[in-house]
Every structure is written in C-alpha cells, then in structure tokens.
C-alpha cells in the first residue's frame, strides 16, 4: 500500500467544495486526498512525485460520444481541410487546394512503391471534403496526376461520396455505359459522357467496395486500431471515452478485452451496443448486453445501448420540423421508424439499460422525447439517465420537457465550428443556426449536459469542443447565438462531470476528490486563466488513468 503525492502548479478539481488545490494523493489507483501537503501527509508515509509540479491537473477528460474508428482511420491517408494529429503525434497540415491534395497523394504513392508494395495495392485516403472547395470538383484528371496505375480511392468526410482515379474506374468496370445517376459524368469537353471518378451514394460506391473489399471504411475493429485510439486519447487528455456504436460480436468483444485488460492501455472505454438495423430483436439485444456486463473491468464497461432515429444535418438526412431545410431540400430520413423506436426503446428500458439516442434534427428529438414520455408513464424508472445524443436543434421548450423527464443531453458542439457556416447558409438558416447545439438553453432548463466530437467525424479533443461551446465562432467569423455560449467553467464541467453523469460514472470519475479514480488530464497551461478565445490552444502533456501515468506521444 503505497501513497504517491503529486504537487502541481494548480489542481482544478471540479469539486465545488474545494475547487482548487496544490497537492493530490493517490493510493491503489484512487484519489486518497486533495489539499496542501500538510493535509495529505496526515494520511501517513508517502512518496513525493514532483513530475507535475509545473503542470495543471484536471480530472481526466471524458468524451461521451466518439468512436474507436478515430484510431484506425489512420490506416488510410488523411486529406482533410483542417490540420489533424495522427496516433504517432504527427500533425498533418490541412490541404487547402486540389494541387495540395494531388501532391500528398503523389508522395504516398511514391512511399508505397518504395516500401515494395505492388502497384495493384490500392491507395486509400479519407477526410477530403469538397464543401470547402467552393464548387471545384475533384476528377480523374487530378487523381491520375498522382498515379495513373495504382488504384486510388478517396472517401469523403461526409461518408456519402468517393473519388477514384482511372485505374480504380477500370478495376471496378465503371464506364460511360453505367446507368446509375451516382456515377458522375463529364459534361462537355473531350471527355464528355465519361465518368469523372466521383461516385455518389451507396450504389455507385458499392462498385468500388466490391473490389477493395473490407479495406478502409468497412474494416473490422483491430487491436492496433484500439491502441491507436488510446494514443490519440492520451494526447487530448482523455481518460474515458465511449465507442458509441458497436455490434459487440464475439470478435469485437475479444479485441476490446485483449487491448483494454492490458495495464499499458491508457484509456477506459464504454462501448454502446448497436440496437438498430435489426441484427437482434430488442429482447435478445438487451439480454446480450446484460450478459456482457459481468465481464466489466476498470477499463472496459459494457452496458450502454445506442439507438438511432435520423441521419445528419449537413447530409440533409436529419428529420426537421417546420420550416424544414433552409435551401428547400426535402425532409431527411428515419433510420428507425418512430414506432419501432418506441417499441425497442421500451424493451431496453425495461431491461434496466441506459439508452443513448442519436437525434440530429428537431423532429427526431421531439419524437424521442414523446416516445420516452409515454414509456416512462408505462414503466417508471428512477435515475434512468437516458441521453439524447447530438440534439443539435433542440430548443428551450424541448429542453424543459427533457429536464422534467430526467433526460440528459450530449450536444455536438464541434458542429458550431466545422459546419456552423453551412448550417447558417444552407441547412437551417440564421434563426435556427443561432441556437445550434444550444448549450446555454440546456443548462438554463436544468438538463445535465455533455458536449462531444463524434470522432472521427470531427477530431477527438474535448478542450477544443469546450472552446467551440464557449466561443460559438465559425470559420467565416460568425458568432452563432451569443446567449447560448457557455462560460469556461461550465464548458470544463461538460467535458468532465457532465459527461460522467450521462455515462452513470459521476460517482467514480469526473472530479478529483477522495474516493474517485485517480484520472487526471495533465496540462501545460491553465484553462481557467487563458483568454477564452484561446482555450483550444491549451497544451496537453498527457494523462493519469487509475494512478498510472501516460505521457502523450510527441513528434
């Protein structure tokens, strides 16, 4: 039984009884005490570990809505508009022109060749988003400059599109003859009628997926991918994260258990069972989740359930109430019909499980609230903490209903930055964009609040997510709904105790106080004293997870 006492420049505890301190004592992976050295010394002998004496400690950050895929995306090559850090700590600069994209692909192709990879091995890339290129479309003319021989496949950031080069078109037998509208063709010019290499929607993309198989986006979960996720989490100060949709097949569970039972793993994972698309009847699904929970360990917690009602706002597939899309697009789609949702939700609810429901558009959120209200009347259950995930268009009246039903909100604050301008200009228009991810209204109504990245949709990084919720600034400089801004302490709460509450772990993690897990986010800078506009630039040194210290990788 050893006790380690860490002095720090400052400890932000998130415990209102003792908001700040200078020392924390750790024993058996848990917090023994918080205070000054004299108070902690009263517990008896200790080792003084001064490695954090110039650092700022916070509770380990909690990402309540992300996916382990954030780690394995890096098996492909990154082509995004924004800078992004890979699991080795290298920051890949955002690519702001087609030429820059071609240049990176040319390098990758040369590297592959240098590594002795055959010219038939496809080059797979991700993160490209034409929404930022002002109408310029990528075609085979660009990609063939990178390689005319090696098949190249670029998955767009929105998941609905792909670009491929001529070699891939040939391999997939995609010609001018193809009748599907998703195979985009050149209009006019020497190549008129020939495919441009842009493939839209599943049918057209299927032709490519058929040839490259389970490489890339459809790849099954691997141990290396989970380890990469853990490395990325450490760089962002994250000690607990969800994998917010997982089929939990025997293969999935084996991978999770192999990686997460190893003490060298720096993250705690809560996988959420995929309770939609009908792989199991709801009753079987609930039984499956309950049967896994006895296998829980510190770093692996089964028990969450994920349901999904609609699509995405920027993909025009979310379900919106009147007046619908700003640009007149028709309403989006149901992923699960409202009737099926209510029936399945009730089954999981009655089985005692906690359900996280994806609702992007406000009609989907309203359907969820209505259904849960009826279910709770039929089957009351104290402290269920069912959570609406994304909830991007929820307004104050809906938040008030959520509060009265005991529902939590985990809002997608990163959208404010990544798609705030598109929401203002295209998807929902000014009024509703100004209350996008209305964190202020949620707190005012008394709804327990977390905020998230949905990584890999946007990069994992709760401090960045907090910056989004605090500033509500878009890339074009718009301020979206000043009154919905969070204060920095409110935002830090949302990425620690707030998220812990939505995962039913607030008794264990989310603050630094006696009895809780010794989970720390170790910072170089003090988020409470930096200019809030610069909160995103606060540097992370690494983490402590249940008393084990992990320094983030650096390049």
């Amino acid at each position: 039984m050893t006790t380690v006492v860490y002095p720090a420049r400052k400890i932000i505890t998130m415990n209102p009884m003792q908001a700040e301190a200078t020392h924390v004592a750790v024993r058996d992976g848990r917090v023994l005490g918080v205070g000054d050295l004299a108070e902690l010394a009263s517990w008896g002998p200790y080792t003084l570990d001064e490695r954090f004496k110039d650092k700022v400690l916070m509770p380990g950050l909690i990402e309540g809505h992300c996916h382990l895929k954030e780690g394995s995306m890096w098996d492909m090559h990154y082509l995004g508009w924004f800078d992004r850090r890979d699991p080795l700590g290298k920051v890949w600069a955002g690519l702001r022109s087609m030429d820059a994209v071609v240049e990176r692909l040319t390098q990758v192709d040369a590297n592959m060749t240098a590594q002795g990879k055959p010219a038939t091995e496809p080059l797979l890339a991700w993160g490209f988003d034409p929404i930022y290129f002002g109408g310029e479309r990528m075609t085979v003319d660009h990609l063939d400059r990178a390689s005319a021989t090696r098949p190249i496949v670029i998955a767009h950031a929105n998941g609905h599109l792909m670009n491929v080069n001529s070699a891939m078109l040939k391999l997939a037998e995609i010609t001018a003859e193809n009748e599907v509208e998703g195979v985009v063709k050149f209009k006019g010019g020497a190549q008129s009628g020939e495919p441009t290499g842009e493939l839209q929607e599943p049918a057209a993309m299927f032709l490519v997926i058929r040839k490259i198989g389970t490489a890339g986006l459809l790849a099954p979960m691997t141990e290396a991918g989970v380890a990469s996720f853990a490395a990325l989490a450490c760089m962002q100060g994250v000690t607990t994260a969800t994998d917010l949709v997982n089929k939990l097949t025997p293969h999935d569970c084996t991978v999770l258990e192999n990686v997460l039972t190893n003490d060298a793993c720096s993250v705690r994972i809560l996988p959420a069972f995929q309770a939609f698309h009908g792989t199991h009847g709801a009753a079987l699904g609930a039984e499956h989740v309950n049967s896994l929970m006895p296998r829980n360990s510190d770093r692996l917690r089964y028990g969450l359930v994920k349901m999904m009602l609609d699509g995405s706002i920027q993909g025009f597939s979310s379900r919106m109430r009147w007046p619908g899309h700003f640009n007149g697009e028709p309403n989006g789609i149901w992923v699960t019909s409202p009737e099926q949702f209510e029936a399945d939700f009730e089954t999981y609810h009655r089985a005692g499980l906690q359900i996280h429901t994806h609702t992007n558009g406000d009609e989907a959120s309203e359907v969820a609230i209505n259904a849960i209200e009826r279910i709770l009347a039929r089957a009351p259950r104290a402290d269920h903490r069912h959570t609406l995930q994304h909830g991007q268009m929820i307004d104050a009246p809906m938040f008030r209903r959520m509060a009265s039903l005991g529902l939590c909100a985990n809002l997608f604050a990163n959208h404010l930055w990544y798609w705030g301008d598109q929401h203002y200009e295209m998807t929902m228009g000014p009024d509703r964009a100004n209350r996008l991810d209305a964190c202020g209204s949620a707190l005012a109504a008394g709804v327990p609040l977390a905020i998230h990245s949905d990584a890999p949709v946007t990069p994992l990084g709760p401090i960045f997510t907090a910056w989004c919720a605090v500033n509500r600034i878009t890339p074009k400089g718009r301020l979206l709904g000043e009154s919905e801004r969070l204060s920095v302490p409110q935002a830090l709460h949302a990425i620690t105790l707030g998220a812990a509450w939505t995962l039913k772990l607030d008794h264990e993690i989310g603050s630094i106080e006696c009895g809780k897990r010794a989970d720390f986010c170790v910072l170089e800078d003090d988020p409470l004293t930096v200019d809030p506009a610069l909160l995103k630039d606060v540097r992370v040194w690494g983490t402590v997870l249940s008393g084990r210290v992990f320094e983030a990788r650096k390049v």
């Binding site: 049918a203 089929k247 028709p330 019909s337």
Partner: protein, 340 residues
Amino acid sequence: MTKRLPLTVIGGFLGSGKTSLLNHWLRNANGQRLAVLVNDFGSLNIDADLIQSNAGDTIELTNGCVCCQISDDLSLALIKILDSAELFSAVVVEASGVSDPWRIAQIGRADPGLLLDGVVVTVNADSFLAQMADPMLSDTLVRQLKAASLVVLNHCDLTTPDTVQQVREKIARIVDTTPMFEARHAEVPLPMLTGLSLPAHDALPAQAAAADCTCEAEDHPHSHAHSHSHGHGHAHGHADPELGAGLSHGDIFETWSSRPTRIFSLADLKDRMKTPPSGLLRLKGFVPTGLPDQPVWYEIQFAGKYGSLRVTPSASLKAGVVAIGLSGQLPRKLLADFFA
C-alpha cells in the same frame, strides 16, 4: 460474359407484408435458387422441413434457396452472394421498413454482375390512409412508392372494398402508371415478382415475329430455360399450390414474344424504355443496334417502370424479346409495331 444476377428489392413499412411476401416466394420458388438478404431472421417464418442447415447468419433451404441476415452492412452481404453468383438464379433484398428501396435498387443498375429485376413495395391497405395522414410518415411512404415497379396492396382482406378503392386512388395519384396488385397474405403470382418466370429469349420459337403464346408462365415448359443454366432438376411442372387455388396464371397473365429481324436505333430503344406503353409488366430480350454489318448488341430489360439497356457481347446471340402483362392489358399492337 458472366451471367447477370437479377436483383429484386422488397420495400414497405413494418407490418405491410414484406416478410410474408418473402415467405410466400421462398415456399413457391419452383426451382428458382434465390439468395434472400433479410434484416432480421426473427420474423422469417420458414417451414422447418424446408430448412437444410442453419449456421448463424445463413440458412440454407432444401429447395436450393439461401437466406442471409444482412447484420450490418448490405454491401458485405451482397459481395458474399456475388462471389458465388453461379449458385443462384436471383437475389432478393429486403429493405428496412423506413428505408428508400431505390437506394438499394440502384446497385442492381450499377453493378455489372447484377440486373435490376424490380422494386416491389408492399402497402398495408388497412393502415395506409392513416399513415399518409401522419406528416412524420407520409414522406417516407411516398418515397417508397415512387421507387416501386410494383405496388402490392396487401391485407386487402382486412379492410373494406371501399377503403381499398380509396387507397388505390391515392397511390395512383403518387405513382401514376406503376402496376398495383391487390393481395391478401402477400400472395403475389411469381411472374409479377420476377423476370425469371418469363421464358428466356433463347427458348422462344425459332421463327415468327409476334409469336403469341398465352403463357402459364410457371407451369409451362418455358421455364426449362432456367433449368439448364443451373442444373436444377425439378424446375418444371410444379403448379403453385397456393396460387393454383382460384388463380390460374393462364387467366391472369398473357405473354407476347417476338424475334425482331431489324436493327434498332439505340436512341429509340432508350426512349421506349423511358416511356413504356401502359399495361406492360415486364419485358426482356436481346436486340442489335447500330450498323447492320457491325451491330452492337444490347440486353434490354424492363420491369414495372424501370428500363435498362446494357451492351452485351454478340457471340451466338439471336434477337428475341418477351413481354408479359395482365390478361387483356398487354399492349400487343404497340409492342409488335416497335419490335417487328
């Protein structure tokens, strides 16, 4: 050229009869070796004596059909089937209750190994009007109907003829000329579901344009055209026991076929496929286009409202076209004028 596998997509809301339709088709497959992809085995009700083996995500039936659970990714499930395409005569995909079946159907138009054989959308005649009155559901329903090459009005026995008439009128306003079929227990004659029930072009009489044949589609020797391509023995002569009761195909369908002798213009064919004559349920065949001394052969296929034309190697091809429609409704003259 490898054989293109016909793809049928079955769409429709929960409770509209998609699974009943699949069960019906599987029970009456009549030698068609179907690969059926479903969302959930839970609701499939396959007779125990029809099940040969059951291995997790795949159930093999004694009649040569196979059912696979889509699990999560339709692409992967479909790739599995296409990798062993020679084992099957058709693939049938059940779309989820709220999805747009057109998104899946497009795969049948896109993939060189597939051929879109139809989009069957089942509608619960008893609850349709209420669903259409719900603004949260009506747009999904309309999307599904617009994708359909055949609308099956199911559960007609559970409601009044008056309601069925109202449902028909409402659907007709949405989908215009798409064929509709009134059913109970989703019992739809196979020739409406699949082009497999049409005689193959190479089984046509060797001569004569517009060779008439009042076809009994399934219980007629025409169906042998399929048997030799997959070596399946008992394809012939099985009258469908359920359909047989009061529904003779000879009474409800008629077919028309032709061995055209002329060269077609591709543009004309495309136009014809875009604006098919009303009364035509299905049409398929092979026709030459272009120049007489250097013809380019096309495989032509039409189902309900979707037409498709694809270049096909010309080796050993003879021109031939087969069409089917409801008795008395097949536009024989228009077909004869065009395909003569």
